[in-house]
Every structure is written in structure tokens, then in C-alpha cells.
Symmetry: C2
Subunit: 150 residues, 2 copies
DNA sequence: AACAAACACTTGTATATACAAATATAAAAA
DNA sequence: TTTTTATATTTGTATATACAAGTGTTTGTT
């Protein structure tokens, strides 16, 4: 469906406007779908993101700053996000002995297990959309998005 | 900047994953920028959206259902969103005499004035990004996003 | 007419997010 | 050494959002 139809626009839209709306709307569709994937596991999209970052650390602890800078969306509540994960025993949290201002956050085995179970579903989610385009189109879309943003 | 660099990914990403992240991240960049545009006017992005929809009604009142279905993001708080606009005298709200279940929401002159002042800034915002692509690339990006989503 | 179902909207609750201020620690400067 | 500045994280407050339940109104069925 064209973006004008999705938002039931009464007037024809400029191409610049169409693209802005299209990106915003497509992101909503992706996020809604992804939340459905996560729902049975009782973690939010942002919580998933933190776990993913922690796994990427391959055993090394991550401090709050590091988590924050690797997240997609700038979030001002890394503390509270980690709190939630701690309650579910998906992470551990300790004061860094070398620099007591820092907090060392690590993913637990339970956290790793949840991610492992989610992995195939996350891949399927990504592909649910991308399978509609061929390889060349996918590369082109990726290229255009980066050019558009920078 | 490539999306892998933006999120400081330690591992190479599959094209499907790159596109998902790219769309999410690009949306964040657009939204952050748009919020900056709106900041001096003390309205949120969602509130702007409602005003835009109401203006599109060209004098006809809109009920809550209509507003909801024309919004980009499905939101469960159209009531509270309209409440906020009412406090600022950007809209009026009345019970529909034909069907007392419905609420008629209309934009006020003050609301129209704010939108008019915002119009050039919103256009500039859209073009800030789209000017990095030529016409052909813009059409292609729009086409690919729609194909990707459907 | 009485009852049930559908509709349009509102409200409560829990959680999320944005922004600014506060706290604690470490490093640098006087 | 004391003071200042920078760094890392937490907390408070206001607002936003998601989801489910609640209220009032209209429509349809018996």
C-alpha cells in the first residue's frame, strides 16, 4: 500500500514528505511486528537491545556508557532498563573495582539462553520484510538510506 | 556513516538485519531532528500530527476514530492527546449532536496559526534529508520502502 | 419493550522516555 | 593538600505509551 493510502492523505504529497512519512511508518510496522515476537518472552524491544549488546561483549562486562552508545535510540534510562533485566536475572550488575564510578553489567546464562531461543525468530522477523526485495534491491535500499541520513 | 559504525557493531551484519537497523536508526534521526523543530512551539510530534489531520479536514470536525486511523503510529491515547491540545486552545471538542457517542474535534484559528508558522520549517526539515538524493534516487527509495513493507 | 451486542470514547495502571538535577568518584589544577 | 573540573551513574518529575477494563450510547434481536 502506498504511504498516502496508509495515512489516508487527502492531498498529494511532495516526494520529500512521502519519504519522511514512509520511513516513520515503516519503522512502526517493523517495531509492532518485533514486539509481537518478543511478547511471549516478556522483554521489551529496548531490553532485547541491551541483552544483544551484552552478548556482543563476549564475556567482558559492559558499563552503562558503553551500553548507551551502542543502542539504536538514545535513551536516558539505561539504569532503569538494566534494573528490569536484573529483576529477571538476565544480567548481573557490580561496581567496577578499578573505577568505582563505573558499573559492570554482564549477561547471565539465563539471558544467553533467552537470546539463543530468540535468535531464529529474530532472523525470521528481519527476513519477513526483506524477502520481498531481491539482493540488488536490498543493497540499493541500504545504500539509499545511508546516503539519505548523512 | 554506515549503520554498523553507528551502532558500533563488533560483527558483520546480514543485509536483512542491516536494513531493519537502518530504518529504525534513520527514523530516530528524523524524529530527533523534528522534535528540535517543534520544541520552540511546545507541542510534541504526535500533537503536531493531530493538528495536521484536523487541518486536513478543511473545516469539517473529526471524531476520535478518524484521528486515530490517520495517525502514523497506532496510539491508544487520542483522548489524552486532544486533552493537551485543548489546554493550549489549539482545538475545540464537542459531543456530536447526531450521535452522542462521538466527539467532534476541530482546529482553532490559533491552531491554524501555529501550523502556518511551522509549515516552512517542516518543509525545510523534510528537505534537509532528501536533498542528499537526486530525484531518481528519491523515487527509488520511496518505491523500495513500499515494496519492503508490503 | 427488554436484552444483548456493537460502537465510540475514557480511564486506570504499569511501564517507558525525556530532561534536568543530584550523587559519588576520579583526575587535574592551584 | 584543597579546590575545581570532569566523568559515570542515579534519581525526580513530567509526559508518553500500551493494554485492559469501564462508561455511556446506539443498534439489532427476540
Amino acid at each position: 500500500m502506498k504511504i498516502e493510502d496508509e495515512i489516508k492523505s487527502t492531498i498529494p504529497l511532495d516526494i520529500s514528505k512521502k519519504i519522511t512519512l514512509n520511513i516513520l511508518y515503516t519503522q512502526n510496522v517493523i517495531t509492532d511486528n518485533f514486539n509481537e515476537v518478543l511478547k511471549p518472552y516478556d522483554i521489551s524491544g529496548e531490553q532485547y537491545n541491551v541483552l544483544r549488546i551484552l552478548r556482543g561483549q563476549k564475556g567482558n562486562p559492559a558499563n552503562m556508557c558503553l551500553i548507551q552508545e551502542r543502542m539504536l535510540a538514545r535513551t536516558s534510562n539505561t539504569t532503569r532498563l538494566v534494573d528490569k533485566l536484573l529483576l529477571k536475572n538476565f544480567v548481573t550488575r557490580n561496581v567496577c573495582p578499578e573505577n568505582r564510578r563505573k558499573i559492570e553489567v554482564q549477561i547471565t546464562q539465563k539471558g544467553l539462553d533467552v537470546l539463543k531461543e530468540l535468535d531464529p525468530k529474530v532472523i525470521a522477523h528481519d527476513q519477513l520484510f526483506s524477502k520481498k526485495l531481491n539482493t540488488e534491491e536490498l543493497e540499493q535500499l541500504n545504500y539509499l538510506l545511508e546516503k539519505y541520513r548523512n
